[in-house]
Symmetry: C2
Subunit: 134 residues, 2 copies
DNA sequence: AACTGATCGTCAGGAGGGCTGATCATCAGC
DNA sequence: GCTGATGATCAGCCCTCCTGACGATCAGTT
């Protein structure tokens, strides 16, 4: 009954995931985008805003607003880099670390449930990576 | 290097597909959304606007604008239903049929190429359907 | 025939994401 | 000390989606 168009399938699968994620993360005061930013910041050495944007493949002008929101909630801090004073290095606060860790657990559990209908969820994930050329 | 977040993967795979589709369909004066509407209209008996919207799972208020565009280009026609004069039955014109058929061939070829990196593209497609609960 | 409630299509408007172009501060190289 | 490039920010536009309201029409009831 449904369309076999690939765009349709991808779009609505993404919509379902986004909806479930938004609901699951709401108690943590986050949405999927927020968590993506936190995870980029949490993974390794401090990053400038542009580097965060590049990792997430979001536009450079969008990342500022996202960080604004996280900063207002006390989850991240901007710090002028001493080496290059143009750069805003973004780091997690301790509250940000706590929120990130519990939200990550929620995300992992949610993704596991989301892929449960598949025989091999990991292969589906690997297929997506292949389609991104990685 | 890339994120393992499912939302990230789905979002950017969809973005790549959309970009490729937009480029491939441009010579036909269509984009992916237009083609989706045409295919809903082409598949079987005449549908009202609401039925088209339901098939594509798009909002009822969006479908009107999409049909406006297609009607301006002479690809579809609105007709008041004789049985229920509230309903706008949407049908393809002959030009719409020609455009739809050639655009469909373009879409099929593009989706085939798009899924080429995968060992089993059909299984990937089936996985997407499973995730939509179909 | 008249009333009520529901449905179809349309419109205005807002929210959100994505992008461009301009600007300012800062850096690196000459 | 110039010049060009880079990081961050801002204003603004476009597109998509959704809500709420409206008029027209239908179906069921009285």
């Amino acid at each position: 009954m449904a369309s076999d168009r690939l765009g349709y399938l991808l779009k609505h699968v993404l919509a379902r995931l986004t909806e479930a994620q938004t609901e699951a993360l709401a108690p943590h005061g986050l949405n999927g985008r927020d968590l993506a930013v936190l995870s980029a910041i949490a993974s390794g050495e401090p990053l400038s805003q542009l580097e965060v944007a590049a990792r997430l493949r979001v536009d450079r002008t969008s990342i500022g607003d996202l960080i604004d929101g996280l900063e207002e909630r006390g989850l991240v801090e901007r710090r002028r880099s001493a080496e290059d004073r143009r750069r805003n290095v973004v780091v997690l606060t301790t509250a940000g670390e706590r929120t990130f860790e519990s939200a990550e657990r929620v995300r992992h559990e949610l993704e596991r449930e989301f892929l449960a209908p598949l025989r091999d969820g990991d292969r589906f994930r690997a297929d997506l990576r292949l389609l991104l050329g990685e």
